[in-house]
Symmetry: C2
Subunit: 191 residues, 2 copies
């Protein structure tokens, strides 16, 4: 199971075997059942998590009490609340499994120790961040230029398998509109 992480790292960098092994040894396996929480509002995020299997949603609850999904995480993604993790602040977000899941987690102290010494693992995380930033930028571009219907069809086009994995009301939340409006869009498209 840890091979999912090992392979992911080796796609980006080639650290010395011992260094990589040391890192992998620090990672702890943890399983989550569907609907279990990896992190709840007000808790402190003490780990970074690599998703080996399953799917999580990263969301908050707005003033009106409505859940707003900021992101999903699936296989081969790192997930955590960076703000809470880095700044040691209580989390404003929840991270919840939306499928049975397997993750590998590492705490701040262990991660810091490794990043203080490993050039390649710094490169690995740097490259991951770069890729996420590109994706986030594209997302903001879409948010600022597409209608609700276009957002949905574009997302569907680029993530045909993923739209099957989560309930539609979660997709609607992630895309920034109501489930009722998503139903309307889908009804329009059929005819």
């Amino acid at each position: 199971m840890i091979d999912t992480l090992k392979n992911h790292i080796l796609k980006f960098v080639s650290p010395p075997k011992s260094e990589l092994q040391e890192f992998l040894n620090k990672m702890q396996l943890k399983r989550y059942n569907n609907k279990e929480y990896l992190l709840k509002e007000q808790q402190y995020c003490t780990h970074q998590y690599f998703i080996s299997k399953g799917c999580f949603r990263f969301y908050f609850i707005n003033q009106k009490g409505i859940e707003k999904i900021i992101n999903f995480g699936i296989e081969d993604w790192w997930i955590s609340n960076f703000d809470s993790f880095i700044n040691k602040s209580p989390s404003e977000y929840n991270i919840q499994a939306v499928e049975d899941a397997v993750v590998f987690k590492i705490n701040k102290q262990d991660l810091s120790a490794i990043l203080a010494n490993s050039l390649e693992l710094n490169q690995y995380f740097r490259m991951i961040h770069e890729r996420v930033r590109i994706a986030d930028q594209k997302r903001i571009q879409y948010m600022y230029s597409l209608s609700g219907e276009e957002l949905y069809t574009t997302f569907r086009e680029y993530n045909p398998h993923f739209v099957q994995r989560v309930p539609q009301y979660m997709l609607a939340s992630y895309l920034g509109f109501t489930p009722e409006f998503l139903s309307k869009i889908r009804a329009n498209k059929k005819v």
Copy 2:
């Protein structure tokens, strides 16, 4: 002038003097006048830019021909089109000075060479990315939970000096609404 960058790096990491100097030596100073372009749509982004002085806007033009600002960059920020830089794709975005500006730039080859060897500079860039990701996350949270008026007052509150630096129609674009609507908000608040 290069000290702005040097100081910024030293706020995060403490690289060996020679390594830091080697990096700084690769940085080329470039000046931009207000309204000059650092990058235009369809061009390839070949450098990363550290803003030493001034302000830039990062924007694209949507299907209706309207400019949409995704981000601003000011002193002590790195700016570039990562997607174009990393994937060697033509840019979908424009980066334009909105004040007279001074930047230090480094090309891909030089940067890669340095990041292949310097632990500390990898850490530096990793930490920058982490911070940007936290900010982007917060931004998406605001976009998904605040009304136009709340977006404006919140932004104003956190960036009181910055709102003075750019025309209001640019602020409106950045916040995701029209200049007319921003005028309306401001008119409401006065009375």
